[in-house]
């Protein structure tokens, strides 16, 4: 009698298993590559639009306005140029809007270009074309628009970040939008984080497992998936309309505004990210080992002492990870802001929770829907600003998280 044959792996079977393994590895690699390629394509698209050649046309050649190039003139000389070249009535009107003495140098420089020189963008080219086909572009331009001046322009610049909104793309900036977004995110986080973490602590540590609590839990999970425009409608109905006395600041003596304020938008956004924060905080709290709770209770700690001294400190890294996701979501949301009535053309800084506001995604949305080419350039530049802002806010949260993790 021979022993029972125990052929676990013939060489051939092993080869087949290895081959199946390699096939799957390649599939996973491809999936990763597709993701990376999409991301690179997105970045390329934005960067390509943010820098490039611009052809300007002038009504009046700026070189003829003064004995020196315009950018070397002092503020007073620029005012003189402005006064000499526009009608008395127009100058008087500008003076009435804001006295020349109070205006900044940049403001007056812009006015000279807008009113006197009459600078107009004829055409813009993306970065790749500008670098690779410069001679062709120049030839094309001398043929079509012999008057135009070709210039390389970085649409993303210090001016772009510090200037307020303007009707012409080349003078427009995102200062008011950045400040609006910062106000918005501050209000959103200050409202949503404490409420969200509080709810998570309650659901995880205090609530007993009964049908009502299970129903609440299920609904929170579902709320995280509700389209943002629905939150916008809710915000419009409740915060903008029903709570108008509060959100317009009328209760606090603010008279010149309606409910379409930063506060109303911040409350709406807080509502939007609340389920996200609750769910993430719950996961973080769940991950705190039970042995720590037992140890604390064993020493005669109350539930609150246990939660405050052990559960929350150990859950903070996880909670912060959740808030990173929530911040990213809130800062990029456009739909609910449109519904609650963000303004699109704001030239003054938002000065508090009761002011009208605009936000970066709103600016980007408005600019991309304009037909002129140059607005697409500033939209791309604004997207870069938004991305930079998002990354810096997230890195703050990541730094905080790492600090708390190391302390353990």
């Amino acid at each position: 009698m021979s022993a029972p044959t125990l052929t676990f792996t013939s060489d051939q079977a092993l080869q087949v298993r290895n081959r199946i393994g390699s096939v799957w590895r390649i599939i996973f690699l491809l999936a990763t590559c597709i993701g990376i390629i999409s991301l690179l394509a997105l970045l390329y698209n934005i960067v390509d639009r943010s820098f490039g050649l611009v052809a300007y046309e002038y009504k009046v050649d700026p070189a003829t306005l003064a004995d020196r190039p315009l950018d070397q003139l002092s503020k007073e000389e620029l005012v003189a140029v402005l006064q000499a070249n526009i009608s008395k009535g127009a100058f008087g009107k500008l003076e009435k809007d804001k006295p020349m003495a109070d205006r900044s140098y940049d403001d007056i420089y812009g006015l000279v270009f807008e009113r006197v020189v009459g600078q107009k963008v004829v055409a813009t080219w993306p970065l790749t074309d500008s670098l690779l086909r410069r001679s062709e572009i120049e030839a094309e331009l001398t043929e079509d628009e012999p008057q135009a001046v070709l210039q390389f322009r970085s649409w993303l610049s210090a001016d772009f970040v510090t200037r307020p909104m303007a009707s012409q793309a080349e003078f427009a900036g995102v200062r008011t939008a950045i400040l609006g977004s910062l106000w918005l995110i501050t209000i959103t986080i200050t409202i949503a984080l404490p409420i969200g973490v509080g709810a998570a602590v309650y659901l995880q540590e205090y609530a007993s497992d009964n049908p009502i609590n299970r129903l609440i839990q299920t609904n929170i999970n579902n709320l995280a998936g509700v389209p943002s425009i629905v939150y916008g409608m809710l915000g419009l109905a409740i915060f903008v309309r029903a709570w108008e006395p509060l959100t317009s600041g009328a209760l606090f003596g603010v008279t010149d505004s309606n409910g379409r304020t930063i506060l109303a938008a911040g409350l709406t956004m807080a509502l939007l990210i609340l389920p996200l924060i609750i769910i993430n905080a719950q996961e973080a709290i769940k991950a705190v080992p039970d042995s720590l709770r037992q140890a604390a209770y064993g020493l005669g700690a109350t539930k609150w002492q246990t939660v405050w001294s052990h559960v929350l400190p150990n859950a903070i890294p996880g909670i912060l990870t959740g808030s990173i996701l929530a911040i990213s979501r809130a800062i990029g949301e456009t739909a609910p802001l449109i519904v609650v009535g963000a303004s699109t053309f704001i030239t003054v800084n938002p000065d508090g929770p009761f002011s009208k506001f605009t936000a970066l995604p709103i600016q980007i949305y408005t600019w991309t829907s304009r037909p002129q080419d140059e607005f697409r350039n500033i939209a791309a530049a604004a997207i870069l600003v938004l991305l930079i802002m998002l990354l810096s806010l997230n890195s703050i949260a990541i730094i905080l998280r790492n600090r708390f993790t190391r302390r353990l």
Binding site: S208, L292, A295, Y297
Partner: protein, 260 residues
């Protein structure tokens, strides 16, 4: 065994249920002051449930409830007017796996005292507790280091020091050496002999040699034979008697290794 002055805690006709399931059935046990009482028995017979009933740690299990009485100073700790937090302050616990807080060694000791409203000299209390747990010499120069940086045996002694710091009357130990090597185990056992001068200790162990070595009294637990799957104490006696002249056949089978 008699005389109320010598009894630290006692159970009377104690039944413990997890929802509909009866885990402990009709246990009456007297734990003497400043002695070590061991609870032994095969796996799943309810040793840990029994131990956790003493400081109401079972309260955290949904559906758990106790019937009968556990008396401490003549007062039922399951009475409605008793706050389980106060019970746990007076009856400390050391767990199977060392579970120091992810804090400094100092804070591990100080936290329990602080939350219980300790007003005295904290440095002194930390030093005294660590000395009582025979850990002071090893950690006195690194009190600001994390409690998790210690070895397993040191962590377990830190947990004992932490329990001592809130000055309990009774210390419950739930298989405190099962995650430790023999040398660390020996240190804990020596420590227990020191501790019983001041504290009453109840220890659950599945190591019969350990029970025989360290304890003064031993309770033998076993599943009840009525088919209910509930654990009960089948024999309770002075350790030496229980191991050498057991009255119950099942105890004899178990301690001589014929079963379990």
């Amino acid at each position: 065994m008699n005389g109320n002055g010598k009894i630290a805690i006692e159970t009377k006709n104690l039944d413990i249920f997890y929802s509909a399931f009866k885990a402990i059935s009709n246990v009456s046990l007297q734990v003497e002051k400043q002695k070590i009482t061991a609870i032994i028995g095969p796996s799943g017979c309810g040793k840990s449930t029994m131990l956790r009933a003493f400081n109401r740690m079972n309260d955290f299990v949904p559906g758990a409830r106790a019937e009968g009485e556990i008396l401490m100073h003549g007062k039922n700790i399951y009475a409605p007017d008793v706050d389980p937090v106060e019970v746990r302050r007076r009856i400390g616990m050391v767990f199977q796996k060392p579970n120091p807080f992810p804090k400094t060694i100092y804070d591990n000791i100080a936290w329990g005292a602080r939350i219980n409203g300790f007003k005295g000299n904290m440095d002194e209390l930390v030093e005294r507790s660590l000395k009582s747990a025979a850990l002071w010499e090893e950690v006195k120069d690194k009190l600001k280091q994390s409690g998790l940086s210690l070895s397993g045996g040191q962590q377990q002694r830190l947990c004992i020091a932490r329990a001592i710091a809130v000055q309990p009357e009774i210390i419950l130990m739930d298989e405190p050496c099962s995650a430790l090597d023999p040398i660390a185990t020996l240190k804990i056992e020596e420590l227990m002999q020191e501790l019983k001068k001041d504290y009453t200790i109840v220890i659950v162990t599945h190591n019969m040699q350990q029970a025989a070595r360290v304890s003064d009294y031993t309770a033998m637990m076993m599943l009840a034979e009525d088919g209910s799957r509930a654990g009960t104490v089948i024999e309770f006696d002075v350790t030496n008697t229980l191991f050498t002249r057991p009255k119950d056949k099942r105890t004899e089978d178990y301690v001589t290794g014929r079963f379990g």
